[in-house]
Symmetry: C2
Subunit: 367 residues, 2 copies
């Protein structure tokens, strides 16, 4: 079923851009209007899974707008979101003579988007890039808002930049080829927006989780658009995360610890965030900010989506907590969390480590 | 002789800062006012030459302002301005638990400043840093204006960011320990400012080059302050080098090719720029923009400073030109140079490659 194209505006002054959401956008010349010049280089960064599916199609449509187009394939997976892969992109750009007028295209999921965006932020101190997200997670979250980064062995997203894309082209048809496990992982970020910012959307997600899991195109279009609108309003208010933008990290401090502790790529990012939201909701309830019933609703929705609701048995509670203290949301030694302050509202609060440990311990699978 | 402290303001909205220039600033608590908090981390990045001279003194004065202070020593020299050294800084920061409230201090010359600034730009997507330049080159040029970068085997400063420091503390007394070769290299950037922006300063430099070479403190104070004021006005007008800021690269396209062609560190940056200015002035004269006498004045001043005025014999003209085409000032394939448009005024212009080759060939030492 064809869906009309939705446009979400990210109003950030001279860094403003649009998110296009709809069917058939990848191959439509209009999606790329005003992006290129005949003298410009385009470099498409993609991975070994997405490249064979969509690389040539993107190459074809870019051919009418750019002087030269090259495709770089990087290895698939979070384990490769590191300096080694970043340098491969730089090597390719320099070897092919990319100058300051080069535009990078990130064709893939969150890993491709984060790496490509960071490469664009640093190459010759900044070139343009366009996000062409092909996973649900990237379409609803990581491709929007200009956060770019690579991982470090001691922590996720530790090295990065704020660098806004020139456009986000979210073609819903590319979700057709997404493995179910990745679709489910993307739903974690969709589920996130309701509890932190939009009670009505939380209820909509509860009512439509079945359709989303069945990839109903209208349901997906609605979920992506609504998620992007919520994210846009948060990013516009606090582009560089000096305050309120941090609410988008709901569940992420727990989630990052799981990813780092198991080794990147063992659990998918969305799976770790799913579990992390359950723990963060429970923490909010223990601190009396929300009632137990609301925390139970979050847990039930995460579970219905097919996401884990318990921490992995391989991580001891002690190690879990120490990993979180390293996480970037730590602040001068204190440990702060994004907590639900009521249904549809979240904020950053410091939490005593003892309570954090209790919540982790209570949600740890026994091995 | 004590000189009064001069202050140069860099007015860039919420990224504004001050350059302090004078004697005894390194040890003066007032130089660091408003920079730290007792909960904050300070990390001093320095090199194996400057660290033993000034590291402990900086550590002592920072102790009153920061909760924890660590010193990281990196290897000396342009050859180490790369990703390997950058990662050493990141490793140290993560291992010691540096958070977003960390302030980096760059204690050293241009290499330390560029590396530290880029580390600050990327660590957790941006932390604060302070420049404490101890070379003439860093005091008059590289520590001011927020350009940070590392080199890539295929080109100098190819990977970097615009990230303004919170303060520049230029203690003239640190120049006492500077080897004469490095003092001379720094003079190249001092000499640069007159021809591109300030005829009176060009004449002052011609009249005072002898005093500068003898390290007369008053002459150095004047040269550093005037250079910083000129650089400040250019940076304020064009922070991210979308246009006019490029004039600060006078001589640099030639210079970068020399550095890259010989291997970073063979010629000092200032030496390469000195020679580069002679070639760029000659190019300006051949194109009829300035008269031969003005180009000869530039050459004579560079020569009197003790800087090279001929390109190294190891680089063939062909290789020299191809290295410049890779340089970041290349633009969609055409080769643009900063040229003198009259005495005290410069601009970016495209130049036919044939004329460029002629000028290189005419100024190449015979081996």
């Amino acid at each position: 079923m064809a869906t009309p194209t939705e446009i979400v505006d990210i109003a950030l002054g001279d860094r403003s851009y649009q998110i296009l959401i709809g069917s058939g956008l990848l191959d439509r010349a209009g999606s790329y209007e005003d992006l290129g010049t005949s003298a410009g280089h385009a470099l498409v960064v993609t991975n070994a899974v997405v490249g064979p599916l969509y690389g040539q199609r993107l190459h074809s449509v870019l051919r009418t707008r750019f002087g030269t187009i090259r495709i770089v394939e990087i290895p698939d997976g979070e384990a490769h979101k590191n300096g080694v892969t970043l340098n491969r992109i730089f090597d390719e750009m320099l070897a092919s003579g990319c100058d300051r007028k080069t535009t990078l295209f990130a064709l893939g999921g969150g890993v491709v988007g984060d790496l490509t965006g960071f490469a664009a932020a640093c190459y010759m101190r900044g070139v343009r890039y366009v996000q062409v997200p092909t996973t649900l997670l990237a379409q609803v979250d990581s491709s929007v808002g200009g956060k770019t980064a690579i991982n470090h062995p001691l922590g996720k997203n530790m090295i990065g930049a704020f660098h806004q894309p020139r456009r986000v082209i979210a073609d819903l048809d590319t979700l057709d080829t997404l493995p179910q496990r990745e679709l489910v992982a993307g739903l974690a970020e969709v589920i996130k927006y309701g509890p932190i910012a939009d009670s009505a959307f939380f209820e909509w997600t509860e009512a439509n989780i079945g359709l989303l899991l069945e990839r109903d195109k209208s349901a997906l279009a609605y979920a992506v658009t609504r998620s992007c609108r919520i994210k846009a309003s948060v990013v516009i208010a606090d582009e560089r995360e000096s305050g309120q933008r941090a609410i988008l990290n709901f569940g992420h401090t727990f989630g990052h610890a799981i990813e780092a502790g198991l080794g990147y790529g063992s659990w998918l990012h969305g799976e770790a965030v799913g579990c992390g939201m359950v723990l963060a909701a429970e923490l909010s309830a223990r601190l009396g900010l929300i009632d137990d019933a609301y925390a139970a609703r979050v847990k039930r929705l995460v579970e219905r989506a097919g996401l884990p609701v318990q921490a992995p048995p391989e991580l001891s509670t002690e190690r879990f907590v120490s990993l979180m203290r390293l996480d970037k949301k730590s602040d001068g030694g204190s440990l702060r969390f994004v907590l639900l302050e009521e249904g549809g509202k979240a904020g950053l609060r410091p939490v005593p480590l003892g309570i954090v440990s209790e919540v982790v311990e209570a949600h740890r699978q026994r091995s």
